[in-house]
């Protein structure tokens, strides 16, 4: 099993979510985060002074999938979250050793 972590533009959340649903990938945990990558920050100004805000709002998705689903999920996210402009975000895939469904106590692949 793998954990796919995707950091995307907040306004892409809706379409990504729908696209994932279409490929039967329902489970997801979402966090509002701030981030910095290649994208330059924005400026906010208060009473004539500029402040650089270099951490921009992003949405972080955490999706646990079985190994065979990694590629389709990653592709779906890339396809739907891409605008081609800097700031589109990133996806990381990491190993997961065990998954437990709290409601039933089931473990492993069937718990995903």
């Amino acid at each position: 099993m793998k954990e796919i972590t995707a950091v995307i533009r907040p306004d892409k959340m809706e379409v990504v979510k729908e696209a994932l649903q279409e490929i039967q990938c329902n489970g997801v945990t979402v966090t509002e985060v701030k981030g910095r990558g290649r994208q330059l920050g924005i400026t906010e100004s208060y009473r004539g002074r500029d402040y650089k805000v270099d951490l921009l709002p992003k949405t972080r998705l955490e999706i646990i999938v079985n190994d065979e689903d990694v590629d389709s999920v990653v592709d779906t996210i890339v396809k739907t979250a891409q605008t081609g402009d800097i700031g589109d975000g990133k996806i990381f895939v990491s190993p997961v050793e065990e998954v437990i469904r709290i409601r039933t106590g089931e473990r492993g692949e069937k718990a995903v």
Binding site: E44, S45, Y46, R47, G48, R49, D50, Y51
Partner: protein, 408 residues
């Protein structure tokens, strides 16, 4: 001379005005300032205004009122009779406003004292000890506000010289702005001096309530419900609107983007500047006063402040000090005798009024600066002015009050 007979219409308006001015501090100033600080200090910031208002309320009825407005003693101070309002009949009329009950006048003036010291708090937020503030409020009201109010409004020597201040350009705003400057000179800079408002919505509510309440402040200072109140009301609104527009213009010129904080800052600056002039000028004068004040304040905040490097956190000096001084001076220029026979400015043939106004500004500025520095130093040596660095960095709300502003 008005007959000393109770006028229920005047009284109705003054009761309303008093409530309106109270609203300016609570929650007006409290929210305006609270929204501009970091979220870790929002409660402390609001708390300062609540304590300022409450302490002043109690002091005022005990001894504050007679010292400021009691029978004049050599132009310096009022005589401290009527302690705890003793001997004041419920139906007695106010000597300085003979159509309304004296107790209404007392309450009205109290709200002015309270907001003045509450305004000071904006400069010292995010780092001043709460206990130091509790000590500062009564001492400063007693040694600084009461004498100045007496000099300008209570029949003291500045009044006798002919200084014009309709609703508090010198007594309230310049006074608060200079006191703020004095305190920040003693307090020093915060570790993080950025102005990144944590909740502009609060500041918007605060600013709007200030605008609303200011009608009581300025039109109420006519002390009656008639043409002069109407004129002051309209001048107040007009100057405020003009100042809002010109601050937004400055924003566009300087950064290319209009900001809402700029808009509400401009509105406050306009309200400040029109305060001493409200009952003396035409709407034409009000537009000029309002339009220019934002330019002056903008420059003071974006240029002068960074040059000198004092940490006037929420720009009390930059807005109330500068705006109050400009308003007091402008009163000397634009006061029109056909609006109010008590004031004639340079534009209407009395250039001497400008000099008188400058004297008023200088006296209040110097007196406040020196006295506030002294008070500040004494508090610093005894209680200490500043919180621990750790408390400052992690926020005053949890450290000083064991509370937090949001659980959202």
């Amino acid at each position: 001379m008005v007959d000393a007979i109770l006028n229920s219409g005047d009284t109705a308006w003054m009761l309303t005005s008093t409530a309106l001015v109270m609203l300016m501090t609570l929650p007006g100033v409290a929210l305006f300032y609270g929204g501009l600080t970091k979220k870790e200090n929002v409660l402390n910031t609001i708390f300062l205004s609540f304590m300022a208002f409450s302490i002043t309320s109690v002091i005022w009825v005990i001894y504050g009122y007679p010292i400021a407005f009691g029978t004049d003693v050599m132009g310096i101070i009022g005589s401290p009779t009527n302690i705890l309002m003793n001997g004041i009949d419920v139906n007695a009329l106010a000597p300085l406003a003979p159509t309304i009950p004296l107790l209404v006048y007392v309450a009205f003036q109290m709200t002015f004292a309270a907001i003045t010291v509450a305004l000071v708090s904006g400069a010292i937020v995010e780092r001043m000890k709460f206990s130091a503030w509790l000590a500062f409020v009564p001492i400063w009201i007693t040694l600084v506000y009461l004498p100045i109010a007496h000099w300008v409004w209570g029949g003291g020597w500045l009044a006798q010289m002919g200084v014009l201040d309709f609703a508090g350009g010198t007594v309230v705003h310049l006074n608060a702005g200079i006191a703020a400057l004095a305190l920040v000179l003693l307090l020093g800079k915060r570790k993080d001096i950025r102005l990144l408002p944590h909740n502009l919505g609060y500041s918007v509510i605060g600013a709007a309530l200030l605008w609303f309440g200011w009608f009581g402040f300025n039109a109420g200072s006519a002390l009656s419900a008639g043409g002069l109140a109407g004129s002051a009301f309209l001048a107040t609104n007009t100057a405020t609107a003009a100042a809002l527009i010109s601050w937004v213009m400055m924003d566009v010129i300087k950064t290319g983007k209009p900001t809402l904080l700029g808009a509400i800052s401009g509105a406050i600056a306009g309200l400040v500047a029109i305060t001493p002039a409200a009952g003396f000028v035409t709407v034409g004068g009000a537009i000029v006063i309002g339009f220019l004040v934002s330019i002056f304040c903008y420059i003071a905040i974006s240029t002068v402040k960074s040059k000198f490097g004092y940490d006037d956190a929420l720009d009390v000096f930059g807005i109330h000090g500068v705006g109050g001084a400009w308003g007091a001076l402008a009163t000397g220029i634009f006061a029109a005798p056909f609006v109010n026979s008590l004031g004639t400015g340079a534009l209407y043939g009395n250039p001497g009024q400008i000099v008188t106004q400058l004297i008023g500004i200088a006296v209040v500025g110097v007196y406040t600066l020196i006295m506030t520095l002294i008070i500040g130093v004494v508090i610093d040596k005894t209680i200490g002015l500043r919180v621990e660095l750790k408390e400052e960095v992690e926020g005053l709300d949890t450290h000083l009050h064991e509370e937090s502003g949001y659980r959202i």
